[in-house]
């Protein structure tokens, strides 16, 4: 989404929560691990200070982040609108139960499950959807969090967008499946064809087919 972002300064400055990092400014934005209060940007984590350049709107904005280690943040709970990576655990007549693996580019620390309801699988011909023709247990999905659910159910996710859906499939026999076209996958070993709701991620699918050859 913000493809124009680049890591610029990764300082070795260690901060503890509550430390004032910078005074608020027009071109400074509090990123992950920080918050803004009373005209200052404060750290909310123990970690190193990073300054990232963000030129998305052709304006130079510096994003302040605090990270515990270099690679990634931990402990982000899913929020509405987030793209999540989910693994299908089981399917039923009305919904597929999924385990959330990561939120955007962050691997989740805790265990979170989500429901993919039948009518949220695709945006066209919703009444004709059969879950088993779209996802099967073991598949890895890209999906969007659409709701926190009601008081008894868990998060609800949706794949009703072109670029969302199955990115890695496991066949009924357990073999690895490669995408054949936009609706079907083919077994690597047996050549069996199964149907899926494939995520139309051009780069990702291209990458996986070249790798298989």
């Amino acid at each position: 989404m913000t493809s124009m972002e680049t890591d610029v300064a990764s300082s070795s400055r260690v901060v503890i929560p509550g430390e004032s990092l910078f005074p608020s400014a027009e071109d400074l934005r509090p990123g992950k691990g920080t918050y803004e209060l009373h005209g200052h940007i404060y750290s909310s984590l123990l970690g190193y200070v990073y300054v990232r350049e963000d030129t998305t709107d052709s304006r130079n904005i510096r994003v302040i982040e605090v990270r515990r280690n270099e690679e990634r943040h931990q402990h982000v709970s899913p929020h509405i609108g987030a793209i999540v990576t989910a693994k299908v655990i089981n399917i039923g007549p009305r919904y597929a139960k999924c385990q959330l693996l990561s939120v955007e580019d962050t691997i989740l620390g805790g265990d979170y499950t989500a429901l993919l309801r039948k009518e949220d699988i695709r945006s066209t011909e919703r009444d004709k959807i059969e879950i088993s023709e779209c996802v099967l247990p073991g598949d890895i999905l890209l999906a969007r969090v659409i709701s926190f659910g009601d008081t008894v159910t868990s998060f609800l996710i949706s794949t009703a967008e072109e670029q969302l859906g199955v990115v890695m499939a496991t066949g009924e026999t357990g073999e690895k499946m490669m995408t054949k076209d936009w609706n079907t996958v083919q077994g690597v070993e047996t050549g069996r064809v199964e149907t899926r709701k494939i995520a139309k991620v051009p780069n990702l699918n291209l990458h996986s087919t070249t790798k298989a050859k």
Binding site: I16, P17, H75, G109
Partner: protein, 225 residues
């Protein structure tokens, strides 16, 4: 000034060892020892020792709470080794003020506190241990938390960090966010006049701030190890 032993190994072996009966000084803490990240590959733990009061805190989560709140995380505190009725709600209240709960909707954060030894001031030790364990777990917070217990003695003088054998007229525990200058917990017992209360509160806040360099040093020690 209190002093720190934050680099030393946890002296679990001498838990039962009697401390020397030093005359309690009215203006300083008993020897303190803080440590975070006690277990190699599991983040979210802290150990706090104040005199011979020893508390171990471990944080689990945030994990899914399907019946949880849509807007903020729920906090669960589990005590062991201590009759927690008196201080559990105080601790939850303080943690609610500390943690940025809105970032963890529909999630549950569990804080397990083990009181290994109780020689007075369990609440201040538990507040320090829980807050440092939360920070070690990488959960976003507003600030670090420092806490202090003060006692009003029968002769109306104030004593910081009383132990269990101190004869007190009243006691007051305060937890503050030092950078934001906010009080997140006040727990008082005994009888004192409004005037004494104000004096005790001011005294406790000024003493709690003294722990900030030690908490800071403890957290830095973890990053540099």
């Amino acid at each position: 000034m209190p002093y720190t032993l934050s680099k030393v190994r946890i002296p679990l072996s001498d838990l039962l060892q009697k401390t020397s009966e030093d005359a309690p000084s009215s203006s300083s803490f008993r020897p303190v020892c803080f440590k975070i990240n006690l277990f190699e590959n599991k983040k979210g733990s802290a150990y706090v020792e104040i005199g011979s009061t020893r508390v171990l805190a471990q944080v689990v989560g945030p994990c899914e709470d399907s019946s949880g709140d849509f807007y903020e995380a729920q906090i669960k505190v589990v005590f062991s080794g201590f009759d927690e009725v008196s201080i559990r709600s105080q601790l939850i209240g303080a943690m609610r003020g500390l943690i940025q709960l809105h970032l963890y909707a529909k999630s549950l954060i569990t804080i397990n506190l083990t009181v290994l030894a109780d020689d007075g001031g369990v609440l201040q030790a538990a507040l320090l241990a829980a807050s440092m364990a939360i920070i070690d777990a990488g959960i976003e917070v507003l600030d670090v938390c420092v806490a202090c217990q003060v006692a009003v003695l029968p002769d109306k003088s104030l004593l910081v960090d009383p132990n269990k054998s101190t004869q007190t007229q009243a006691a007051l525990t305060v937890a503050i966010l030092p950078n934001l200058n906010q009080i997140i917990c006040i727990d008082s017992s005994g009888t004192m006049s409004l005037e004494e209360y104000e004096k005790a509160l001011e005294f406790a806040v000024s003493k709690a701030v003294k722990l900030y360099p030690i908490v800071r040093k403890t957290l830095f020690a973890e990053m540099n190890s």
